[in-house]
Subunit: 199 residues, 2 copies
Amino acid sequence: MPDIKHFDPDSTLDQVVRLFWQRGAEVTGIAEVVQATGLSRSSLYATFGGKAQLQAAALGRYLERQSRPVFDALAADDRGVPAIDAFFERLVAARCRGEHARWGCLVTNTHATASGDLPGIRETLDHHHDALRAAMGAALEKARTKGQLRSGLDLEAAAEALTLQAYAVNLRSRAGAEAGLLLAGVRAVLDGFTTTEER
Amino acid sequence: MPDIKHFDPDSTLDQVVRLFWQRGAEVTGIAEVVQATGLSRSSLYATFGGKAQLQAAALGRYLERQSRPVFDALAADDRGVPAIDAFFERLVAARCRGEHARWGCLVTNTHATASGDLPGIRETLDHHHDALRAAMGAALEKARTKGQLRSGLDLEAAAEALTLQAYAVNLRSRAGAEAGLLLAGVRAVLDGFTTTEER
DNA sequence: TCTATCTTGGAACGACTATTCCAAGATAGA
DNA sequence: TCTATCTTGGAATAGTCGTTCCAAGATAGA
Protein backbone atom coordinates (compact mmCIF):
# COMPACT_ATOMS: atom_id res chain seq x y z
CA MET A 1 0.00 0.00 0.00
CA PRO A 2 2.61 2.56 0.92
CA ASP A 3 4.80 4.62 -1.30
CA ILE A 4 8.48 3.73 -1.59
CA LYS A 5 11.52 5.97 -1.40
CA HIS A 6 12.26 7.90 -4.56
CA PHE A 7 16.01 7.74 -3.96
CA ASP A 8 18.73 5.32 -2.89
CA PRO A 9 19.67 5.90 0.78
CA ASP A 10 22.90 4.00 0.26
CA SER A 11 24.32 6.22 -2.44
CA THR A 12 22.98 9.26 -0.61
CA LEU A 13 25.04 8.32 2.44
CA ASP A 14 28.06 8.00 0.18
CA GLN A 15 27.50 11.55 -0.99
CA VAL A 16 27.21 12.73 2.60
CA VAL A 17 30.46 10.97 3.46
CA ARG A 18 32.23 12.85 0.69
CA LEU A 19 30.81 16.12 1.92
CA PHE A 20 31.69 15.59 5.60
CA TRP A 21 35.09 14.20 4.66
CA GLN A 22 36.11 17.11 2.48
CA ARG A 23 34.50 20.03 4.27
CA GLY A 24 34.26 18.78 7.84
CA ALA A 25 31.15 17.34 9.43
CA GLU A 26 30.67 19.98 12.12
CA VAL A 27 30.86 22.96 9.80
CA THR A 28 28.69 21.40 7.08
CA GLY A 29 25.09 22.49 7.36
CA ILE A 30 21.98 20.53 6.49
CA ALA A 31 21.37 23.02 3.69
CA GLU A 32 24.60 21.87 2.04
CA VAL A 33 23.59 18.25 2.44
CA VAL A 34 20.24 19.03 0.86
CA GLN A 35 21.90 20.75 -2.08
CA ALA A 36 24.57 18.06 -2.57
CA THR A 37 22.17 15.14 -2.40
CA GLY A 38 19.36 16.86 -4.25
CA LEU A 39 16.67 15.56 -1.94
CA SER A 40 14.54 17.45 0.54
CA ARG A 41 14.84 17.94 4.28
CA SER A 42 11.83 15.70 4.84
CA SER A 43 13.39 12.71 3.12
CA LEU A 44 16.68 13.36 4.86
CA TYR A 45 15.19 13.43 8.34
CA ALA A 46 12.80 10.58 7.65
CA THR A 47 15.68 8.39 6.52
CA PHE A 48 18.56 9.34 8.80
CA GLY A 49 16.90 11.11 11.69
CA GLY A 50 18.99 14.21 12.23
CA LYS A 51 22.43 15.71 11.98
CA ALA A 52 24.10 13.77 14.80
CA GLN A 53 22.83 10.42 13.56
CA LEU A 54 23.73 11.33 10.00
CA GLN A 55 27.22 12.15 11.21
CA ALA A 56 27.52 8.84 13.01
CA ALA A 57 26.19 6.97 10.00
CA ALA A 58 28.64 8.73 7.69
CA LEU A 59 31.54 7.90 10.01
CA GLY A 60 30.48 4.27 10.10
CA ARG A 61 30.14 4.16 6.35
CA TYR A 62 33.58 5.70 5.88
CA LEU A 63 35.11 3.14 8.18
CA GLU A 64 33.41 0.33 6.33
CA ARG A 65 34.06 1.48 2.77
CA GLN A 66 37.34 3.36 3.04
CA SER A 67 39.27 2.12 6.07
CA ARG A 68 38.38 -1.52 6.45
CA PRO A 69 39.28 -2.65 2.91
CA VAL A 70 42.74 -1.16 3.34
CA PHE A 71 43.14 -2.66 6.79
CA ASP A 72 42.05 -6.04 5.51
CA ALA A 73 44.47 -5.82 2.60
CA LEU A 74 47.27 -5.07 5.01
CA ALA A 75 46.36 -7.93 7.33
CA ALA A 76 46.06 -10.35 4.40
CA ASP A 77 49.36 -9.38 2.80
CA ASP A 78 51.88 -12.07 3.71
CA ARG A 79 55.04 -10.28 2.65
CA GLY A 80 55.83 -8.78 6.05
CA VAL A 81 57.67 -5.46 5.97
CA PRO A 82 56.99 -4.89 2.25
CA ALA A 83 53.29 -5.17 3.04
CA ILE A 84 53.58 -2.35 5.58
CA ASP A 85 55.63 -0.35 3.15
CA ALA A 86 53.01 -0.79 0.46
CA PHE A 87 50.29 0.25 2.89
CA PHE A 88 51.99 3.55 3.60
CA GLU A 89 52.83 4.16 -0.03
CA ARG A 90 49.21 3.81 -0.97
CA LEU A 91 48.13 5.87 2.03
CA VAL A 92 50.41 8.80 1.23
CA ALA A 93 49.46 8.66 -2.44
CA ALA A 94 45.75 8.69 -1.62
CA ARG A 95 46.15 11.60 0.82
CA CYS A 96 48.32 13.78 -1.38
CA ARG A 97 47.15 13.01 -4.91
CA GLY A 98 43.97 12.28 -6.77
CA GLU A 99 40.45 13.42 -6.04
CA HIS A 100 40.80 13.01 -2.28
CA ALA A 101 44.03 14.99 -2.04
CA ARG A 102 44.18 17.22 1.02
CA TRP A 103 40.95 15.77 2.38
CA GLY A 104 42.77 13.94 5.14
CA CYS A 105 40.95 11.03 6.79
CA LEU A 106 37.42 11.40 8.13
CA VAL A 107 38.23 9.35 11.22
CA THR A 108 41.41 11.29 11.92
CA ASN A 109 39.65 14.60 11.42
CA THR A 110 36.90 13.51 13.77
CA HIS A 111 39.48 13.03 16.52
CA ALA A 112 40.08 16.77 16.56
CA THR A 113 36.52 17.93 15.95
CA ALA A 114 34.13 15.66 17.81
CA SER A 115 33.58 17.20 21.21
CA GLY A 116 32.88 13.92 22.92
CA ASP A 117 29.27 14.92 23.38
CA LEU A 118 28.24 12.77 20.47
CA PRO A 119 27.40 9.28 21.68
CA GLY A 120 29.11 6.38 19.96
CA ILE A 121 31.68 8.50 18.16
CA ARG A 122 34.46 7.84 20.67
CA GLU A 123 33.81 4.13 20.48
CA THR A 124 34.05 4.25 16.69
CA LEU A 125 37.36 6.08 16.90
CA ASP A 126 38.77 3.50 19.30
CA HIS A 127 37.47 0.70 17.13
CA HIS A 128 39.21 2.22 14.12
CA HIS A 129 42.42 2.53 16.09
CA ASP A 130 42.29 -1.04 17.32
CA ALA A 131 41.55 -2.34 13.84
CA LEU A 132 44.52 -0.59 12.27
CA ARG A 133 46.84 -1.61 15.10
CA ALA A 134 45.71 -5.20 14.78
CA ALA A 135 46.39 -5.20 11.05
CA MET A 136 49.80 -3.66 11.65
CA GLY A 137 50.47 -6.26 14.31
CA ALA A 138 49.54 -9.09 11.96
CA ALA A 139 51.87 -7.75 9.29
CA LEU A 140 54.66 -7.37 11.83
CA GLU A 141 54.23 -10.93 13.04
CA LYS A 142 54.66 -12.22 9.52
CA ALA A 143 57.72 -10.02 9.18
CA ARG A 144 59.13 -11.57 12.34
CA THR A 145 58.68 -15.13 11.12
CA LYS A 146 60.48 -14.11 7.96
CA GLY A 147 63.37 -12.75 9.98
CA GLN A 148 62.86 -9.23 8.70
CA LEU A 149 62.71 -7.62 12.11
CA ARG A 150 65.34 -6.48 14.56
CA SER A 151 65.71 -8.85 17.49
CA GLY A 152 64.12 -7.71 20.70
CA LEU A 153 61.53 -5.54 18.97
CA ASP A 154 58.34 -5.06 20.96
CA LEU A 155 55.70 -5.94 18.38
CA GLU A 156 52.83 -4.35 20.28
CA ALA A 157 54.68 -1.08 20.67
CA ALA A 158 55.86 -1.16 17.07
CA ALA A 159 52.32 -1.69 15.83
CA GLU A 160 51.13 1.25 17.91
CA ALA A 161 53.97 3.41 16.59
CA LEU A 162 53.14 2.67 12.96
CA THR A 163 49.46 3.30 13.63
CA LEU A 164 50.32 6.67 15.13
CA GLN A 165 52.41 7.47 12.06
CA ALA A 166 49.40 6.80 9.87
CA TYR A 167 47.32 9.29 11.87
CA ALA A 168 50.02 11.92 11.48
CA VAL A 169 50.20 11.32 7.74
CA ASN A 170 46.45 11.85 7.51
CA LEU A 171 46.68 15.01 9.55
CA ARG A 172 49.64 16.68 7.89
CA SER A 173 48.48 15.80 4.38
CA ARG A 174 45.34 17.86 4.98
CA ALA A 175 47.58 20.86 5.57
CA GLY A 176 49.28 20.18 2.25
CA ALA A 177 52.39 18.37 3.46
CA GLU A 178 54.70 17.03 0.78
CA ALA A 179 54.30 13.34 -0.04
CA GLY A 180 58.04 12.72 -0.12
CA LEU A 181 58.58 14.15 3.33
CA LEU A 182 55.77 12.09 4.82
CA LEU A 183 57.08 8.91 3.22
CA ALA A 184 60.60 9.63 4.45
CA GLY A 185 59.32 9.95 8.00
CA VAL A 186 57.38 6.72 7.80
CA ARG A 187 60.32 4.84 6.31
CA ALA A 188 62.65 6.11 9.02
CA VAL A 189 60.38 4.44 11.57
CA LEU A 190 60.12 1.26 9.55
CA ASP A 191 63.87 1.12 8.97
CA GLY A 192 64.38 1.29 12.73
CA PHE A 193 62.33 -1.87 13.11
CA THR A 194 64.04 -3.95 10.43
CA THR A 195 67.30 -5.87 10.57
CA THR A 196 68.83 -4.64 7.33
CA GLU A 197 67.80 -2.38 4.48
CA GLU A 198 65.63 -4.57 2.34
CA ARG A 199 64.19 -1.84 0.26
CA MET B 1 42.47 62.82 25.78
CA PRO B 2 40.92 59.50 24.88
CA ASP B 3 39.67 56.83 27.15
CA ILE B 4 41.81 53.75 27.66
CA LYS B 5 40.80 50.09 27.60
CA HIS B 6 39.12 48.86 30.75
CA PHE B 7 40.62 45.39 30.36
CA ASP B 8 43.89 43.68 29.51
CA PRO B 9 43.84 42.44 25.89
CA ASP B 10 46.74 40.15 26.62
CA SER B 11 45.07 38.13 29.34
CA THR B 12 41.83 38.21 27.37
CA LEU B 13 43.58 36.51 24.46
CA ASP B 14 44.86 33.89 26.88
CA GLN B 15 41.30 33.17 27.93
CA VAL B 16 40.25 32.90 24.29
CA VAL B 17 43.11 30.47 23.67
CA ARG B 18 41.86 28.25 26.47
CA LEU B 19 38.34 28.35 25.07
CA PHE B 20 39.32 27.58 21.47
CA TRP B 21 41.78 24.95 22.63
CA GLN B 22 39.34 23.01 24.76
CA ARG B 23 36.11 23.40 22.80
CA GLY B 24 37.36 23.95 19.27
CA ALA B 25 37.65 27.30 17.55
CA GLU B 26 35.13 26.71 14.77
CA VAL B 27 32.31 25.56 17.00
CA THR B 28 32.87 28.21 19.66
CA GLY B 29 30.56 31.18 19.20
CA ILE B 30 31.25 34.82 19.96
CA ALA B 31 28.61 34.59 22.68
CA GLU B 32 30.78 32.05 24.50
CA VAL B 33 33.81 34.28 24.14
CA VAL B 34 31.82 37.19 25.54
CA GLN B 35 30.70 35.12 28.50
CA ALA B 36 34.13 33.63 29.20
CA THR B 37 36.01 36.92 28.97
CA GLY B 38 33.31 39.00 30.64
CA LEU B 39 33.66 41.87 28.21
CA SER B 40 31.23 43.09 25.58
CA ARG B 41 31.00 42.51 21.87
CA SER B 42 32.04 46.10 21.19
CA SER B 43 35.32 45.78 23.03
CA LEU B 44 35.97 42.41 21.47
CA TYR B 45 35.49 43.61 17.92
CA ALA B 46 37.30 46.91 18.53
CA THR B 47 40.32 45.05 19.88
CA PHE B 48 40.57 41.92 17.75
CA GLY B 49 38.45 42.75 14.73
CA GLY B 50 36.31 39.64 14.18
CA LYS B 51 36.15 35.90 14.59
CA ALA B 52 38.69 34.95 11.92
CA GLN B 53 41.31 37.37 13.18
CA LEU B 54 40.63 36.36 16.76
CA GLN B 55 41.16 32.76 15.72
CA ALA B 56 44.44 33.61 14.02
CA ALA B 57 45.58 35.65 17.02
CA ALA B 58 44.71 32.81 19.40
CA LEU B 59 46.62 30.33 17.26
CA GLY B 60 49.65 32.61 17.23
CA ARG B 61 49.45 33.11 20.95
CA TYR B 62 49.23 29.37 21.56
CA LEU B 63 52.27 28.78 19.42
CA GLU B 64 54.20 31.43 21.28
CA ARG B 65 53.19 30.55 24.82
CA GLN B 66 52.63 26.81 24.65
CA SER B 67 54.61 25.35 21.79
CA ARG B 68 57.72 27.47 21.47
CA PRO B 69 58.92 27.19 25.08
CA VAL B 70 58.80 23.41 24.78
CA PHE B 71 60.51 23.45 21.40
CA ASP B 72 63.21 25.74 22.76
CA ALA B 73 63.73 23.51 25.76
CA LEU B 74 64.16 20.53 23.47
CA ALA B 75 66.61 22.35 21.23
CA ALA B 76 68.60 23.59 24.21
CA ASP B 77 68.81 20.22 25.93
CA ASP B 78 72.27 18.82 25.25
CA ARG B 79 71.70 15.27 26.39
CA GLY B 80 70.75 13.87 22.98
CA VAL B 81 68.33 10.97 23.04
CA PRO B 82 67.37 11.51 26.71
CA ALA B 83 66.32 15.04 25.74
CA ILE B 84 63.93 13.67 23.14
CA ASP B 85 62.69 11.09 25.59
CA ALA B 86 62.03 13.81 28.17
CA PHE B 87 60.19 15.88 25.56
CA PHE B 88 57.76 13.08 24.84
CA GLU B 89 57.33 12.18 28.48
CA ARG B 90 56.30 15.74 29.24
CA LEU B 91 54.13 15.88 26.13
CA VAL B 92 52.20 12.73 26.94
CA ALA B 93 51.80 13.80 30.57
CA ALA B 94 50.47 17.21 29.57
CA ARG B 95 48.03 15.71 27.06
CA CYS B 96 46.67 12.96 29.30
CA ARG B 97 46.79 14.43 32.80
CA GLY B 98 46.23 17.75 34.52
CA GLU B 99 43.95 20.61 33.56
CA HIS B 100 44.63 20.28 29.83
CA ALA B 101 43.97 16.55 29.72
CA ARG B 102 42.08 15.48 26.59
CA TRP B 103 42.32 18.98 25.12
CA GLY B 104 44.83 17.85 22.53
CA CYS B 105 46.95 20.53 20.88
CA LEU B 106 45.40 23.64 19.35
CA VAL B 107 47.75 23.53 16.36
CA THR B 108 47.12 19.83 15.76
CA ASN B 109 43.37 20.30 16.08
CA THR B 110 43.51 23.19 13.62
CA HIS B 111 45.01 20.85 11.02
CA ALA B 112 41.77 18.93 10.92
CA THR B 113 39.35 21.83 11.30
CA ALA B 114 40.70 24.82 9.39
CA SER B 115 39.22 24.64 5.91
CA GLY B 116 42.11 26.42 4.27
CA ASP B 117 39.92 29.40 3.57
CA LEU B 118 41.41 31.26 6.51
CA PRO B 119 44.42 33.26 5.37
CA GLY B 120 47.64 32.80 7.28
CA ILE B 121 46.52 29.70 9.11
CA ARG B 122 48.26 27.27 6.79
CA GLU B 123 51.49 29.24 7.08
CA THR B 124 51.26 29.09 10.86
CA LEU B 125 50.76 25.33 10.75
CA ASP B 126 53.78 24.88 8.51
CA HIS B 127 55.84 27.17 10.70
CA HIS B 128 54.89 25.11 13.74
CA HIS B 129 55.85 21.94 11.93
CA ASP B 130 59.21 23.31 10.80
CA ALA B 131 59.99 24.58 14.29
CA LEU B 132 59.34 21.24 15.94
CA ARG B 133 61.25 19.34 13.28
CA ALA B 134 64.19 21.71 13.65
CA ALA B 135 64.24 21.21 17.41
CA MET B 136 64.08 17.45 16.92
CA GLY B 137 66.87 17.68 14.39
CA ALA B 138 69.05 19.65 16.78
CA ALA B 139 68.51 17.10 19.53
CA LEU B 140 69.28 14.27 17.11
CA GLU B 141 72.52 15.91 16.01
CA LYS B 142 73.69 16.11 19.59
CA ALA B 143 72.74 12.48 19.99
CA ARG B 144 74.84 11.60 16.96
CA THR B 145 77.94 13.36 18.29
CA LYS B 146 77.48 11.42 21.50
CA GLY B 147 77.34 8.17 19.56
CA GLN B 148 73.82 7.41 20.70
CA LEU B 149 72.43 6.86 17.22
CA ARG B 150 72.44 3.92 14.89
CA SER B 151 74.91 4.33 12.06
CA GLY B 152 73.44 5.30 8.73
CA LEU B 153 70.41 6.97 10.26
CA ASP B 154 68.90 9.71 8.09
CA LEU B 155 68.65 12.57 10.57
CA GLU B 156 66.22 14.60 8.49
CA ALA B 157 63.87 11.68 8.08
CA ALA B 158 64.21 10.74 11.73
CA ALA B 159 63.34 14.27 12.82
CA GLU B 160 60.29 14.22 10.59
CA ALA B 161 59.25 10.84 11.96
CA LEU B 162 59.45 12.01 15.57
CA THR B 163 57.56 15.18 14.71
CA LEU B 164 54.81 13.11 13.15
CA GLN B 165 54.68 10.97 16.29
CA ALA B 166 54.09 14.11 18.34
CA TYR B 167 51.11 15.04 16.16
CA ALA B 168 49.64 11.61 16.59
CA VAL B 169 50.08 11.79 20.37
CA ASN B 170 48.22 15.10 20.38
CA LEU B 171 45.46 13.67 18.25
CA ARG B 172 44.89 10.37 20.01
CA SER B 173 45.13 11.89 23.49
CA ARG B 174 42.10 14.04 22.66
CA ALA B 175 40.13 10.86 22.09
CA GLY B 176 41.24 9.62 25.51
CA ALA B 177 44.10 7.33 24.51
CA GLU B 178 46.05 5.75 27.33
CA ALA B 179 49.31 7.51 28.26
CA GLY B 180 51.21 4.25 28.54
CA LEU B 181 50.24 3.11 25.08
CA LEU B 182 51.23 6.42 23.50
CA LEU B 183 54.58 6.41 25.27
CA ALA B 184 55.23 2.82 24.21
CA GLY B 185 54.65 3.78 20.60
CA VAL B 186 56.95 6.77 20.79
CA ARG B 187 59.69 4.76 22.48
CA ALA B 188 59.48 2.04 19.86
CA VAL B 189 60.33 4.65 17.26
CA LEU B 190 63.11 6.12 19.35
CA ASP B 191 64.55 2.70 20.12
CA GLY B 192 64.77 2.05 16.41
CA PHE B 193 66.99 5.08 16.04
CA THR B 194 69.42 4.32 18.86
CA THR B 195 72.38 1.96 18.93
CA THR B 196 71.64 0.19 22.20
CA GLU B 197 69.01 0.38 24.88
CA GLU B 198 70.12 3.26 27.01
CA ARG B 199 66.96 3.68 28.95
C1' DT C 1 -10.41 3.16 -9.72
C1' DC C 2 -10.36 3.73 -5.15
C1' DT C 3 -7.94 4.25 -0.86
C1' DA C 4 -4.72 3.65 2.87
C1' DT C 5 -0.03 4.84 3.63
C1' DC C 6 4.05 6.39 2.74
C1' DT C 7 7.20 10.13 0.59
C1' DT C 8 8.13 14.62 -0.93
C1' DG C 9 8.65 19.70 -1.49
C1' DG C 10 8.83 23.67 0.81
C1' DA C 11 7.27 26.90 4.16
C1' DA C 12 7.89 27.97 8.86
C1' DC C 13 10.02 27.45 13.51
C1' DG C 14 12.91 29.28 17.32
C1' DA C 15 17.49 29.40 18.47
C1' DC C 16 21.63 30.46 17.16
C1' DT C 17 25.53 32.79 14.17
C1' DA C 18 28.86 36.90 13.33
C1' DT C 19 28.59 41.59 12.98
C1' DT C 20 27.08 46.54 13.34
C1' DC C 21 25.39 50.40 15.50
C1' DC C 22 24.54 54.00 18.85
C1' DA C 23 23.75 56.22 23.03
C1' DA C 24 25.92 56.37 27.53
C1' DG C 25 30.09 56.18 30.30
C1' DA C 26 34.95 56.88 31.16
C1' DT C 27 39.19 59.10 30.54
C1' DA C 28 42.95 62.55 30.22
C1' DG C 29 44.73 66.68 28.56
C1' DA C 30 43.44 71.87 28.33
C1' DT D 1 35.68 71.80 34.92
C1' DC D 2 35.22 71.37 30.28
C1' DT D 3 35.65 68.74 26.13
C1' DA D 4 37.37 65.83 22.55
C1' DT D 5 37.98 61.02 21.98
C1' DC D 6 37.97 56.78 23.09
C1' DT D 7 35.50 52.56 25.30
C1' DT D 8 31.56 50.17 26.77
C1' DG D 9 27.00 47.91 27.28
C1' DG D 10 23.49 46.20 24.93
C1' DA D 11 19.97 46.38 21.44
C1' DA D 12 19.35 45.23 16.72
C1' DT D 13 20.91 43.46 12.20
C1' DA D 14 20.58 39.92 8.56
C1' DG D 15 21.74 35.42 7.95
C1' DT D 16 22.16 30.49 9.09
C1' DC D 17 21.55 26.59 12.13
C1' DG D 18 18.92 22.07 12.95
C1' DT D 19 14.36 20.73 13.12
C1' DT D 20 9.27 20.33 12.49
C1' DC D 21 5.15 20.46 10.12
C1' DC D 22 1.65 19.92 6.58
C1' DA D 23 -0.49 19.84 2.28
C1' DA D 24 0.36 17.69 -2.13
C1' DG D 25 2.16 13.81 -4.75
C1' DA D 26 3.25 9.00 -5.45
C1' DT D 27 2.55 4.26 -4.81
C1' DA D 28 0.61 -0.47 -4.53
C1' DG D 29 -2.77 -3.61 -2.97
C1' DA D 30 -8.13 -4.16 -3.02
